[in-house]
């Protein structure tokens, strides 16, 4: 389970690409891996790429939001990128607005956003 979701480090930024179903064991392992990486080295930003997910239900949405919250407690800003239009529409229609999460269209935009946000923090 550990390592199911690859996490890359690019300097002070982490990039996690979610391409499998995020459930129980996988989700827990993912969160552990992220927090371990954040703890190990100075990490300003975390980009979670969900362009591979064709479905995000409230369970998965919660995991993603929680991961962001955990990272934030450790000083890392999280940006969610690559959400598919139908995934976005479905979450919002259910009433799950995913507030409190930064979002960007893709990796490039996500990194640019992190840069702006980190600059602001200093």
């Amino acid at each position: 389970m550990r390592g199911s979701i690859p996490i890359l480090r690019m300097g002070e930024t982490l990039l996690a690409t979610v391409h499998v179903d995020l459930h129980d064991a996988v989700a827990e392992a993912f969160q552990t891996d992220v927090l371990t990486a954040v703890e190990k080295r100075r990490t300003n930003g975390l980009v979670i790429d969900i362009s591979g997910l064709d479905m995000v239900d409230t369970y998965v949405a919660r995991i993603l939001a929680q991961t962001g919250q955990m990272a934030k407690l450790m000083g890392t800003t999280t940006v969610l990128v690559g959400m598919r239009p139908e995934v976005s529409a479905t979450l919002v229609r259910m009433g799950y607005m995913m507030e409190g999460v930064y979002t960007a269209l893709d990796l490039d935009e996500g990194l640019a956003l992190l840069k702006r946000l980190c600059k602001r923090r200093r």
């Binding site: 459930h23 479905m55 239900d57 919660r62 139908e86 529409a89 479905t90 229609r93 259910m94 799950y96």
Partner: protein, 138 residues
Amino acid sequence: MVIEARTRREMKIASEDDVALVRRAVRALAEAHRFDVFASAAITTATSELTRNVWVHARGGVALIEEVLDDERVGIRVTFRDEGPGIDDIERVLAGGYSTAKSMGLGLSGSRRLVDEFRLDSTPGRGTCIQILKWHPL
């Protein structure tokens, strides 16, 4: 208006993996009938929510997946049955404000908003039956 089921498939919900299997079966059906990507996401996500509820809250149950027809169009109907604890305050849960089991609340009320027809029958201590139906968006 007569709704007849053209095909029926029953799937057990007895593990975490089954949640994904049921979801995939519904997704495949939606794609086979050329539901657009939004409608497909809607029925698939509702299915995922409700299947997970059966697994998490009742520790097991059954999902019946049917292709249905009325005079003009095709639809996908999924019925979830379990013999779990049942739902105490149905009104509150459907309104989405079920605080002690937040996860069930939003999933249930959220799913209802994604489908065309939604039926819920529950008896505390005996079990729950939820039926959802999504018509082809045409």
